[in-house]
């Protein structure tokens, strides 16, 4: 096996892991509200979302070589790698970028913070490219266009749309008996959340497919700039779907219970707002982060309802995490690129992959200390993500559900 083939195999494996973390980090975007209002039992919600992500991943027809090309200067205008970087140099940049993105995704999951997987990927690639090529390795106007403007506007637009939808919903249904209302809106929640899941599969799996295709082209294994190999599609679809099914319960808990105490009419307003904005923005050519949109929608639905509980402290923590996502992932990406560069291609690729495994393993081990899963995801929010052992009884058991959807 040549050097390039070995590094390529590592890149593909690590990219699939990134896609998996992308899935479990983002389950919350579609399903947190439906789980919190008990429109769907937690495990059924993640299963539905996983199946729709799988379907969505196969539906993506766009070629996503533009993802990396929008922020780092390692490709030409047509998306093909710059000739001088062909082979190992571009593969190491991509590998280090992916390592940075995964580490940040797992860290934010540990803290239960919904943060954008795309920003983590952008950040990792930017850091690695900057370490490898200097300041001109980065497309600064691309960062403004693809990262800063969308990030600043997504939560505001989503919050506005969801707040208006929520306020009108409650005004119109004031006279509807509350149990009947809850049951009705649960159906609306399931439909709208499903749409968000499908759109997520289409948008996000594509990014990893693009990264892998770029790596294949850089190593001379693939030449078509306008198509993605079928096996890459299948692998990415399975990775994002299985990640979604594992369910990032910590993030689901924060978004569904922590940020706003949600009722099913709010859940439907939030997911409808998210679906409309995600679909229209990707059509307008301004890809807003699903995470930023979903979080903005949930916040908006708290603002739009009178006397709703909105925890601004939680929102503040999220904002901080969003602001440091890109630089933090960039820092890790740059550092791992340097390590790989100093050790040489093969040894470098092995060492940074081992670093990734050790760091991820440690964070996973830490997460076991305050385990959040399907059984306690909906426990009452008492100042933080952590569920005290005495309170770990799920609400479902503590208080009976008066309006199950099947009734």
């Amino acid at each position: 096996m040549s050097d390039v083939t070995f590094i390529l195999a590592t890149v593909v494996a690590v990219a699939v892991v990134f896609d998996f973390t992308n899935g479990f980090h983002d389950t919350a975007n579609a399903m947190a509200t439906s789980i919190a209002t008990r429109a769907l039992p937690p495990k059924l919600a993640v299963l539905l979302s996983a199946v729709l992500n799988l379907a969505g991943a196969f539906l993506s027809i766009e070629v996503a070589l533009t993802v990396s090309n929008s922020v780092v200067a390692i490709q030409g205008p047509d998306g093909s790698p710059i000739p001088s970087l062909m082979g190992a140099p571009i593969l190491i940049v991509v590998l280090a970028g992916l390592v940075g993105a995964i580490i940040w995704n797992i860290l934010t999951w540990l803290f239960g913070i919904p943060s954008s997987s795309s920003h983590a990927l952008f950040g990792g690639l930017i850091g690695a490219a900057m370490a490898a090529l200097g300041l001109h390795g980065v497309k600064w106007t691309g960062i403004l266009r693809s990262v800063i403007i969308p990030a600043a506007s997504a939560p505001i637009v989503a919050g506005l749309v969801a707040a208006i939808g929520t306020a009108l919903t409650y005004a119109i249904t004031k006279s509807v008996p509350d149990h009947t209302r809850t049951r009705g809106y649960r159906w609306g929640q399931i439909g709208s959340a499903s749409l968000v899941s499908l759109a997520h599969g289409t948008n996000d799996a594509q990014k990893t497919m693009g990264v892998i295709t770029l790596a294949l082209i850089a190593s001379g294994r693939w030449t078509n700039l306008n198509a993605i190999p079928v096996w890459v599609k299948i692998m990415c679809a399975l990775a994002i779907a299985s990640g979604t099914y594992i369910g990032g319960w910590r993030v689901i808990r924060t978004l569904g219970k922590g940020l706003v105490e949600i009722d099913s009419p709010q859940g439907m307003a939030a997911e409808m707002a998210s679906a409309a904005i995600i679909l229209s923005s990707s059509h307008a050519g301004m890809a807003l982060s699903t995470t930023h949109v979903a979080t903005g929608s949930v916040l908006g639905t708290g603002i739009g309802r009178k006397n709703a509980v909105v925890r601004w402290g939680v929102a503040g923590r999220m904002l901080v995490a969003w602001l440091i996502t890109l630089p933090a992932a960039a820092g890790v990406g740059a550092l791992t690129w340097l390590i790989a560069h100093l050790l040489g291609n093969i040894a470098g690729a092995i060492v940074i992959t081992v670093i990734l495994m050790v760091v991820s393993g440690y964070m996973f081990w830490r997460s076991r200390r305050s385990r959040i899963d399907a059984s306690n995801v909906n426990a009452a929010w008492t100042g933080g993500l952590h569920v005290k052992p005495t309170e770990s009884l799920p609400e479902a058991a503590a208080e009976p559900d008066l309006h199950p959807i099947g009734a």
Binding site: S153, A162, G165, V176, H179, A276, S281
Partner: protein, 88 residues
């Protein structure tokens, strides 16, 4: 720089308009359906649950509202699948 901001502004405007029309509008249509379905009916369980039957007119309005929401969700799926070809 200025052209990037201008382009982003026009994209955002479109996203906001579609968001308000569909993102806020569909919950409104759904709410009108819920209202029509329950208006004027007696209640049970101490007022928590609606009882009796909706009159045919109210029922038709409710069904129309829910059908609009379902159609919009199907349209959303069509946009996901055929996006660029569908809307140019």
């Amino acid at each position: 720089m200025a052209d990037i901001l201008a382009k982003a502004g026009s994209q955002l405007l479109m996203v906001t308009i579609v968001g308000l029309l569909l993102g806020s509008g569909l919950p409104v249509v759904f709410s009108l359906g819920m209202r029509a379905l329950t208006a004027g009916r007696p209640t049970s369980m101490e007022g928590h649950e609606v009882a009796g039957r909706a009159n045919p007119l109210a029922l038709s309005i409710a069904i129309l509202c829910f059908a609009i929401v379902v159609a919009a969700v199907l349209f959303g799926i069509a946009v996901i699948i055929w996006g660029k070809r569908l809307l140019g």
